[in-house]
């Protein structure tokens, strides 16, 4: 069985970068796949990788990470304008962040049209389309 844990943005909004990253990693280390509303800041993504490396052990083999975010290069002028307002209002709340334990998630493939999450447990493919 694969467990997904949804983390709404308001749960991490007021946290410092370190607390935000640690909160997400704690869930992942409980063998759950995090689906977080919004995205981490660039530096936080790097911090997440860094802290993950510090925690690696024979039991915890790391994470799979993917961020779904509107592809601005494929938007028309009006969509981009709306995006500017959305960014100003919502900040990092736009998009979705998926983080799973490497012992369960084999890989997450993302391209502009779809996200595919491959699990190790049952060797089956669960596909999510945005």
């Amino acid at each position: 069985m694969v467990t997904f844990k949804f983390v709404p943005y308001h749960e991490v909004d007021g946290l410092s970068s370190a607390k935000r990253v640690n909160k997400l990693l704690k869930i992942v280390k409980e063998d759950k796949i995090v689906i977080m509303e919004g995205r981490l800041r660039r530096q936080e993504e790097a911090d997440l990788i860094e802290i993950t490396m510090e925690e690696i052990s024979p039991k915890f083999k790391g994470i799979e990470l993917s961020v779904i975010y509107p592809d601005k290069d494929k938007q028309d002028a009006m969509q981009r304008l709306k995006g500017v307002f959305a960014d100003a209002l919502l900040g990092d709340r736009q998009g979705l962040t998926i983080i799973g334990p490497a012992s369960i998630v084999k890989k997450i493939e993302s391209n502009p049209d779809q996200i595919e999450l491959f699990t190790k447990e049952r060797s089956k493919k669960a596909s999510r389309r945005r």
Binding site: R42, Q43, E45, A46, I49, E50, T52, M53, E54, I56, P58, K61, G62, I63, E64, L65, S66, V67, D73, A102, I108, E109, S110, N111, P112
Partner: protein
Amino acid sequence: MGLYGPPNGGKSTLANKICQDWLGEEMSSVSHIAHETREIKIKEQVNIKNKKGKELTFSLVDTPGISTKIDYEDFIKKGLKKTEAKKRAKEATKGVIDSIKWLDDMDSVVVVLDATKDPYSQVNITIIGNLQARNIPVLIAANKVDLKKANIEAVKAAFPQYKIVGISAKYGKNVEEFYEQLFALAK
């Protein structure tokens, strides 16, 4: 100038090619097993020249591949003994941490990607996003174009805002164009 990217993208092969071409010596060891480079390696005073006679001198930094997961059992599958595999995994985790810490020390970066693989991996996006956030100039080297599976157009589609050069560091294909782009990167 740093060489960054995921493991086994060809950073050390490219570092060796640059050093062989301009210093007449190698810089790093290479292997088909991932995480061969587990420590930051620096070659100072690399001086290159272009066709117009311009010269560019830089310190070349070969970094360990950045990854979100490291499983010692993967090294066992590649033929390493258990103790050796665990040691390599431990060193590899430290290498990833060092690579990230060194990002702040770079004046410019060549991101070396394996052009036969999916360019949309989050590691690639995270590396390039962090360089962008730090205002560090980036050149993307889409490596291994000698292989049939190489898809440089996919790399271009994934990172349309960056200059991308398709190369084969192993066989020296298109490295002249790569060297020319280093001058533009250093501006």
